[in-house]
């Protein structure tokens, strides 16, 4: 419990910064949207862009001139921001003890290594939840000026849930990297690299049908915003796959961290 509270406090500044980034991103995003909003010229421009490109950028399924359609396109960028923050928090919260050489204090206290991971993981989990809610809240608030249709709130809710699962996946992966890597300094950047790599996999996967099997390798493909809009529910298979990844990563993190030498 004390580890959890201390980490919460220690990570608070970082949470503020990330919240600031997300808020700024929402504001800038919606400011751009005001140019597309109910603008028939925009639709004309989009017609000239090659369909494959539109597909890759998620423009195909959405009508960019409505606020629902606009958010469908923003989804990927919010997902990137939220997963990157999750992976960085996850890896940093564990590896910073070795980086700052505080292990000789924090792990000499009468605690098990599992207790350390649990306290820290819960603290960064709270961060992820708060950042998710901030994103959600500011999206809804910004959208009000553009008279969103009745589907909008439900659509945002289901996408934010999808995003939360993606956050959890990369949080777990980050914690695993922070716990297991000998080169703990690289844990954070490796986490971000994994996110970008899986993001690009998801793009190529959409461009080429032969690569369809690749969708299992990229959490960015697990929850397609267009499908979410049409069906208003998460794909069970991918929810289960996500839970599997999260459980596997966390188990591996607990096992390796409890068994390995700390780097002092």
């Amino acid at each position: 419990m004390n580890i959890f509270l201390r980490e919460l406090k220690a990570n608070f500044k970082s949470l503020l910064i990330w919240s600031g980034i997300v808020i700024l991103f929402t504001i800038v995003g919606f400011a751009k949207f005001s140019a597309y909003y109910n603008n028939p010229d925009m639709l004309a421009i989009l017609k000239d862009i090659p369909p494959a490109m539109l597909e890759a950028l998620n423009f195909q399924a959405f009508n960019l001139t409505t606020v629902t359609g606009f958010f469908g396109i923003m989804f990927t960028y919010f997902a990137l921001l939220l997963t990157i923050s999750a992976a960085m928090w996850g890896s940093d919260v564990i590896s910073k003890e070795e980086r700052d050489k505080t292990v000789e204090f924090s792990l000499v206290l009468p605690v098990t290594r599992s207790q350390v991971i649990t306290g820290k993981a819960l603290a960064v989990l709270v961060n992820c939840i708060v950042l998710n809610l901030v994103t959600w809240g500011f999206t809804i608030a910004n959208a009000q000026q553009y008279t969103p249709d009745d589907r909008f709130n439900g659509f945002v809710a289901i996408t934010m849930l999808a995003m939360f699962i993606m956050q959890l996946i990369f949080l777990a992966v980050g914690i695993l990297l922070g716990s297991a890597l000998k080169q703990y300094k690289r844990a954070g950047s490796l986490g971000v690299s994994i996110i970008l790599a899986t993001y690009f996999i998801s793009i190529f996967d959409k461009l080429n049908e032969k690569l369809d099997f690749m969708k299992y390798f990229s959490p960015f493909n697990y929850f397609d915003p267009a499908t979410l809009l049409q069906e208003s529910r998460l794909d069970v298979l991918f929810v289960l796959l996500s839970i599997g990844i999260i459980v596997a990563a966390l188990t591996a993190a607990y096992l390796t961290y409890s068994k390995r030498d700390l780097y002092i």
């Binding site: 004390n2 201390r6 220690a10 700052d100 050489k101 505080t102 292990v103 000789e104 204090f105 792990l107 000499v108 206290l109 009468p110 605690v111 098990t112 207790q115 068994k259 390995r260 030498d261 700390l262 002092i264």
Partner: protein, 290 residues
Amino acid sequence: MSVIEVNKLTKYYGKSRGILDVSFKVEEGEIFGFIGPNGAGKSTTIRLLLSLIYPSSGSAAVFGKDCIQFGPEIRQEIGYLPSEVFYYEGMKVLDLLKYSGSFYKKDTTKRMYELAEIMELDLKRRIDDLSYGNKKKVGIVQGLLHQPRLLLLDEPTSGLDPLMQRKFFDLVQEENKRGATVFFSSHILGEVQKLCSRVAIIKDGSIIEVQDIATLRKDNYKKISVTAEGLDEKYFAIDGVSNLQKENGSFNFFYKGNINTLTRLISQKDMADVTIEEPTLEEIFMHYYE
């Protein structure tokens, strides 16, 4: 029951040696010195006792319990002072000490304030504003605030001024009188000489000797210095003489053996000056280090 029992403990970091086949016991209530040059494996041994790292082979037990299996339980009663202290930088000293205290079953507040006063530690400052010596003081208070039954001190005095060193030694002795066992690792022999009853000497990862300080000095060399006319090196060419050096007309050497043989030899000449001294631990240990 031994407080620390180390049995054939071996640690390799990849291929490089940490410690090899180290065995020793520390009994309840003693102040046990752990002496060796830098890189000999002193910190490795202590970190194994704290299960910060795990042995390649062998085992270690504290309070009769295996260090790995019962790590957290054992650490309830261990106070550790590392050679270099690192704490969470954003925190205030008081918050850090309270945080540390919150992990122990005892109430640590009262002892924390006592210790802070003895060590003249300002509790309101932030960790990152502290000098090296002041951080060390935080380490001392943090290591002692839960009144541990075992103190593990890893070169504890580096960074402390002589006055604080003395206060620290007084504290350690006080804790020892209270019943705490002390494991004192150092390469500064003077401080070990002052405090410890027994020492283990470690070199290149292996224990060379475990001895009472008293026996160590008794069984050892005498330091002899003689000044007389007409002496040369050959005069002292008897068994047991070593390190013979001529300096400003006097001869200095170590002697180990029957002291009467030597005094008879000396009495045959007309001496201007003779001194026979116990060697300092420094001189004894240089012999092991070499």
